[in-house]
Amino acid sequence: MDIYRAHVLVCGGTGCSSSGSATLIDRFNEKIAENHLDKEVKVIRTGCFGLCEAGPVVIVYPDGTFYSRVKPEDVDEIVTEHLLKGRKVEHLVYVDHATRQQDAEKKLEDITFYKHQHRIALRNCGVIDPENIDEYLAMDGYRALEKALTQMTREEVIDEILKSGLRGRGGGGFPTGLKWKFTYQSQADQKYVACNADEGDPGAFMDRSILEGDPHAIIEAMAIAGYAIGASQGYIYVRAEYPIAVKRLSIAIDQAREYGLLGKNIFETGFDFDLNIRLGAGAFVCGEETALMHSIEGKRGEPTARPPFPAVKGLFGKPTMLNNVETYANVAQIILHGADWYASMGTEKSKGTKVFALGGKINNTGLVEIPMGTPLRTIIYDIGGGCPNGKKFKAVQTGGPSGGCLPESLLDTPVDYDNLIAAGSMMGSGGMIVMDEDNCMVDIARFYLDFIVDESCGKCAPCRIGTKRMKEILDRIVEGKGEEGDIEKLEQLAQTIKNTALCGLGQTAPNPVLSTLKFFRDEYEAHIKEKRCPAHHCRSLLQYKIDPAKCKGCTACARICPAEAISGTVKQPHVIDVQKCLKCGSCMEKCRFGAISRV
């Protein structure tokens, strides 16, 4: 048996891959062979560890030494020092954001970033080799499928999911067990299960990471779902922009077929189930369930009105049960450990955990999984490490283009479906973007609306025309051409669109504007009435100015200005010609005396 004394886990998630982890793997293998360690040390490519900010990430076991930002040339040192001589390479060890220390002895679960997390959906990400089904099996993989098929009736499986309190992680939060039950109750000669891996929210990468890091978890859960509702065929709808996820998923499906975990007569129980991958067309609206199903059928990915609901009439006109990737990622654990175990985590109406992709103005951008009910403050400060460069926190955006921005005063909100809605945002699929004092909230709202205008499929007028009108008003406001009454116009349009749009995209599109209007109305008013951007972000509304009292006349700014907008003589205060100034900000960065400011 090939036992290796040390395992080098190199993150092969998208984040670390783009910072060069594939090169690291080759280099490790090369150096390990060179030092004749290839019979003792094994290199494994895993999925995302969550700390993408510190990537590429490498962990060396059995010591559990966590190396971050590893460069190809660092590999030689890790091999000759750590792997050959057992001396940890201290200067490459991850710096904990809370203690600011490099502690080579610190175990992964004691690192501040991981300490507050509870990994269920991400349990195998960064732990196993996703391209090796044996490793998934060793982590109790496919035991839940075995249990469901050999020891539980279909009704018992559905009951367990119902009792667990699991709700859809794709954004809507609909009780998963109920959806399974409705599809189970539909009578038909053929039913389907489907997995939504379209993940179109800007900044979101939870589903991608699960598929990349633990694809078998989705396959196992879909087979369990197929058994429960009575489907023999499943489809996974993945964005074509996720090549690593698609590749790992294909490998996993092949391996599962080879082992008889997909295919005919699974575990000799008479249950048949197989899976196919469908590549997404790349439009955000294709993540909407009816559009997604049309797209799988080979038609245009446009939403249609519900009812009929997919549970009654879905793919190819047959009852279909669609769940999100992260929703599925919880299923095997619930079957294995029981509904009570799962329901013991979380809040009254939101059970279990939720994965968030932390991004924006935050120190630890990455992937985190927290029990429902964890306050926003814990996620942003304790796990995320707060805003970089000592900047002041301003808002956190959840729910993507359908969600909202919450201010500092609501940071103690315990995160769950209902609390976030009550606070004026929503859970969404799990994007969480932090904004600091330099972000203009009007411009943020405009960013999301711009996304919507691009992604609207154009089928219904309120969404197609209404969002464009709203966007035009916001464009005007940030350019300093806002007028009295614009806020009211925005509010009216928002209401109309919410009430009359055909699908969820349009119905939720005004939310980013409404929530910023609710919490940051003063910023809108400053833009409109005073022609001023309080965050000094909107270019049309700001001016660069030199304070003559502070200016030493060093001429540095005048030399760097690309527009030759700065004039003055040596040792005399300089001035900026606002007509010529391009507002590039170079002069402000250059001035060592802090004489230049944005007003």
Binding site: I3, A6, Y61, P62, G86, E109, F267
Partner: protein, 123 residues
């Protein structure tokens, strides 16, 4: 197509392979071989390889082998620490590959340290 029994066998075999990735396991026995330059010169590598050999031969899922740098007692190298949870660390000195099967069998498997190889006997 694999039967349930075959899947179970794969699980068992793979668990021993990925066992090194478990952290803070209360049951894990740790074998730590001194492997700095002095240790390597004194023949620590063959010792470590013998440990790995013996452990995989006996399919001991709960044992990890790791190394450490110089402990500062070069004249006693190669040195090996065996750490059984709940017991004091035992340090073996001047370890040779021939001694490894006995350490594994008596100490790791049966829980009785091989006193004559330990640091106490050498001093």
């Amino acid at each position: 197509m694999k039967s349930l029994a075959e899947l179970e066998a794969i699980r068992k075999a793979t668990i021993s392979k990925i066992n090194v990735r478990k952290e803070n396991e209360a049951e894990t026995v740790r074998v730590v071989v001194g492997m700095a330059t002095c240790g390597i010169a004194a023949g620590a590598r063959p010792v470590m390889l013998s440990f790995m050999d013996e452990i995989s031969k006996r399919q001991l899922n709960h044992v990890t082998v790791s190394q450490t740098g110089c402990i500062g007692m070069c004249r006693l190298e190669p040195m090996v620490d065996v750490i059984v949870p709940g017991h004091e660390k035992v340090t073996y000195v001047h370890v040779k590959p021939e001694m490894v099967p006995r350490i594994v069998a008596e100490h790791i498997v049966n829980g009785r340290p091989v006193d004559e190889y330990t640091i106490g006997a050498a001093e």
